[in-house]
């Protein structure tokens, strides 16, 4: 019945025509320019672009020339007179510190570093996301050298993300620039965002802007969902693979009036079989059934923009023994709602006509804009989990408010300030023989300011925030970023900043219940606190045929002042959590080369070295289950008409240390060896649809006995958390995408 209703809803959508222009403003690197000013020449109708550079503007009858301008860019005008059917205008603004002869590449790769941002920010767009077509956010980084994704354990299918060799809890996850997937949802949250919902992903290493809070320590990953105002009218995606995974995605977008647009996104997935290839009696991967439904709205009138998003998710995981004598069952329900309001001020004081290409004029008059953003977000997360005889039920409610005021003061100065409020309530019940109840409520009001100044080829950004946490008191977060451009050939960046976070031991580590380790949580755990320093150099070297070799070198160092140490070493039958007493750091050095070797053929080579150490019981030790290095090779070839696309990825994962085994009865090795994973995919595009097929883990490499003492799931030695490699072998997959693009 539910499904029929949804179908009816989709079918009843119809498109209404209107005099409105929308589009995207981008820089030369293809990154959307947020807060750019757009107005009709000779009128007082104007607007600003949103975070991703999108804009919508109503077209007055007599207006035909659009003027685009933004700080640090040359202004541009577009005349749309006499062009029927043009409701979309997309513009590339030149950074006026760049050389004029910079050309727009013919086929931009799906992954690029924003050359203009002060921060080191890498964007993955849909081209990149489609290179590994399966399935959700956790698979989106397969072709990315910076982010590692691995299974947390051998039973629950939970996936953990790593950046700079640090675990995902030190990476601030955002959706639409709102903190998300925190606390309870961090264990399984990588699976909560279906691939086809995503428009792009931004990865920033190191501490990011203070505007989104203090939690980014290793970095920040932001996911932008598809937007109703510029999505395909209807799109469908069906996926299946050889180990029983099936996914179905559908979404539809419609403009209801000049100023109002909405979209619905639906995801359903299930496993029709759960094989046990290594014959240990356990499902290699759990059965995961998920329903996910979202609805979003976009409204724009004059200088006001409203965006609203609501979604509900229901997920059911079943893992453990195939005969169900040891069962893992995790049921999750999650609801999210956000409302973003944007008000724009002072953008309408243009006076003269006929200045279509007078850039001086533009720069003198269009850079005193300001905007106010009010963001409200609420989340309810409810999880009931059974791990054999153990039970863990958790509930987390989150309320988040962020108010940001931005002001451009002339061409070279930008000021932002704001205030935020975050509330988290946790209610956790853990049953291990006896039942324990943990409840906690945390309120964090805070305020922040950020200043960006540009002088010639140098841009500097300084941010400071102060927050009061009802559990930990007041703390201050300073962050600095500096970028220096040497013409358009080299970009140097340095950053330094602090980050903090509240540890949520059970919520973030409840997959550890899939082992019979005793969980010892220390008293008075402190708020985690760290400094992060980064230096990056990006060099662009012209080679043959007008092509450019991009070389990148990056080094990031994270130094913990306070950390909750996860001690898996002192006792092979326990996991201890206690305050750091001594040193803890991560040093990550990465090199990357990108080149379009010849038309259509792009290659990426990358290598990263991680040195992550933490003091465990007075001894500085290498972090266990962490690869010491990683190399990545990707090749992409697209035929000239883009009808065929071939993608190949090889990951060379370095070895690392295992947690100390029992000295008298070692059940696992001290080290794990390096291993390689290869994936390939072929895509065939047609005018409105495309099919893809591929293979993951082509060489069929597996960690063969990931579960320790697999015969005795209720014995002391049982441990499914000693996972360092893939748990399922070669997998074939195929899928189909269909889209009804808008006119």
């Amino acid at each position: 019945m539910k499904k029929q209703l949804i179908l009816l809803f989709l079918v009843s959508f119809s498109s209404v025509s209107f005099a409105q222009v929308h589009g995207i403003i981008k820089d030369n690197a293809g990154q959307g320019i947020p807060g750019a000013h757009i107005h009709w020449l000779g009128t007082d109708v104007g607007t600003l672009s949103d975070e991703s550079g999108h804009f919508i503007i109503s077209q007055p009858n007599d207006a035909n020339t659009l003027i685009f301008s933004s700080v640090g860019f040359a202004s541009d005008t577009v005349n749309v007179a006499g062009k029927n059917n043009i409701d979309q205008v997309n513009v590339i603004l030149d950074d006026h510190t760049e050389l004029a002869e910079l050309t727009v590449t013919q086929r931009r790769s799906g992954k690029y570093v924003n050359r203009l941002a002060v921060q080191n920010m890498e964007t993955l767009n849909t081209n990149e996301l489609r290179k590994a077509a399966c399935c959700n956010l956790s698979e989106s980084f397969t072709t990315n050298p910076s982010v590692d994704v691995s299974y947390s354990d051998a039973a629950t299918g939970a996936k953990q993300i790593k950046l700079l060799g640090l675990s995902g809890s030190y990476v601030q996850m955002l959706t639409e620039n709102i903190p998300n997937l925190r606390g309870l949802s961090s264990a399984y949250g990588m699976g909560y965002i279906p691939g086809p919902w995503m428009e792009s992903i931004q990865i920033s290493k190191g501490t990011a802007s203070v505007k989104t809070g203090y939690e980014a320590i290793a970095g920040q990953i932001n996911v932008e969902y598809k937007k109703p105002q510029n999505s395909d009218r209807v799109s469908l995606n069906i996926f299946t693979n050889s180990v029983g995974r099936t996914e179905f995605n559908a979404d539809a977008a419609v403009k209801l009036s000049d100023s109002l647009a909405t979209s619905v996104m639906l995801h359903a997935s299930d496993d029709y079989m759960t094989p046990d290839d290594n014959g240990d009696g356990y499902r290699d991967l759990p059965r995961i059934r998920q329903y996910n439904l979202a609805n979003r709205w976009f409204y724009q009138k004059d200088n006001y923009i409203l965006q609203a998003f609501v979604r509900g998710l229901s997920e059911n995981r079943t893992g453990g023994k195939t005969d169900n004598s040891y069962k893992i069952g995790i049921n999750t329900e999650r609801y999210e709602l956000f409302v973003k309001n944007g008000f724009l001020f002072g953008g309408d004081e243009h006076d003269e006509e006929g200045h279509q290409h007078d850039q001086e004029h533009e720069h003198n008059h269009e850079h005193n804009l300001s905007s106010l953003g009010i963001i409200l977000n609420g989340t309810i997360h409810n999880q009931d989990a059974v791990y054999g005889a153990k039970k863990y039920d958790g509930r987390q409610n989150n309320l988040y408010l962020n108010v940001i005021y931005d002001r451009e003061m002339g061409e070279h100065h930008k000021f932002s300030a704001g205030t935020s409020f975050n509330m988290d309530t946790y209610d956790e019940i853990l049953t291990l023989g006896n039942t324990q109840n943990f409840t906690r409520t945390e309120y964090v009001p805070g305020a922040f300011a950020e200043y960006t100044v540009t002088y010639k080829d140098l841009t500097a950004m300084a941010g400071l925030r102060a927050d009061y946490n009802t559990l930990y008191g007041t703390f201050v977060t300073p962050r600095f970023h500096v970028r220096y451009n040497i013409k358009d050939r080299a970009h140097l960046r340095v950053s330094a900043g602090k980050g903090y976070r509240t540890p949520n031991i059970l919520a973030e580590n409840n997959f550890l219940l899939a082992s019979n380790r005793v969980i010892n949580i220390g008293e008075n755990l402190k708020q985690e606190e760290a400094w992060n320093f980064g230096a990056t150099a990006h060099v662009f070297i012209p080679v043959w045929g007008g092509k450019e070799l991009a070389l990148m070198g990056e080094w990031f160092y994270t130094n913990f002042i306070n950390q909750v140490v996860v001690d898996m070493d002192s006792n092979p039958h326990a996991a201890g959590f206690y305050n750091l007493n001594g040193k803890s750091y991560s040093s990550s050095l990465q090199f990357e080369a990108n080149l379009e070797v010849f038309r259509g053929f792009t290659a990426t080579l990358a290598h990263r070295i991680n040195d992550v150490k933490v003091t465990v019981m007075g001894r500085l030790r290498e972090k266990p289950l962490n690869n010491r290095s990683k190399s990545l090779i990707t090749f992409t070839y697209e035929t000239p008409l883009k009808k065929w696309q071939f993608d190949y990825t090889a990951q060379f994962n370095g070895g690392g240390r295992m947690p100390d085994p029992d000295a008298s009865n070692p059940l696992w090795e001290n080290e794990f060896k390096p291993f390689n994973i290869m994936n390939a995919q072929v895509t065939r595009n047609f005018r409105t649809w495309s099919v893809y097929a591929g293979a993951e883990n082509i060489t069929n490499f597996m960690q063969h006995h990931p579960i320790i003492d697999v015969q005795n799931p209720f014995g002391d030695n049982f441990d499914a958390s000693m996972v360092w490699g893939p748990m399922h072998g070669r997998t074939f997959y195929a899928g189909l995408r269909w889209a009804l693009t808008k006119k």
């Binding site: 589009g23 995207i24 981008k26 293809g30 577009v78 062009k83 029927n84 059917n85 043009i86 979309q88 205008v89 997309n90 513009v91 590339i92 050309t103 727009v104 013919q106 045929g545 007008g546 010849f598 038309r599 259509g600 053929f601 290659a603 090779i633 090749f635 070839y637 035929t639 000239p640 008409l641 883009k642 009808k643 071939f646 190949y648 090889a650 060379f652 390689n676 290869m678 390939a680 047609f686 005018r687 082509i698 060489t699 693009t741």
Partner: protein
């Protein structure tokens, strides 16, 4: 490790040869025309690429957004300049042929 390197090398070779083969497929009946098109944006470029690629007889396409030029190589038995201009107009753009080379051999060289 050595076998892995071989696999990488072989795959690279396959992709390169695929690419080379696609680029060598030219014959007597192809024609290359450069059109000046009223495109202003990345999305216009994408719309053009997605649609014009499916015109009959299309062999190759290069889009230069900055210069607003679209260079098309096509089979003259299956389509013509006029038909292609029509196709651009259908998408909401104006197009005008600015350069015209019969049997151009080196369209892929830049």
């Amino acid at each position: 490790m050595k076998t892995k390197i071989w696999i990488v090398a072989v795959i690279a070779l396959i992709m390169i040869s695929l690419a080379a083969e696609a680029q060598s497929k030219k014959n007597e009946n192809t024609k290359t025309v450069t059109f000046e098109v009223s495109m202003t944006c990345e999305n216009c470029q994408r719309t053009i690429e997605k649609n014009i690629a499916w015109e009959k007889g299309m062999k190759d396409m290069k889009v230069d957004l900055e210069k607003k030029l679209v260079t098309l190589t096509f089979d003259t038995r299956k389509t013509s300049e006029e038909k292609l201009i029509e196709a651009f107009e259908k998408l909401g753009y104006t197009a005008e042929a600015v350069q015209n080379n019969q049997n151009e051999k080196n369209v892929n060289k830049q």
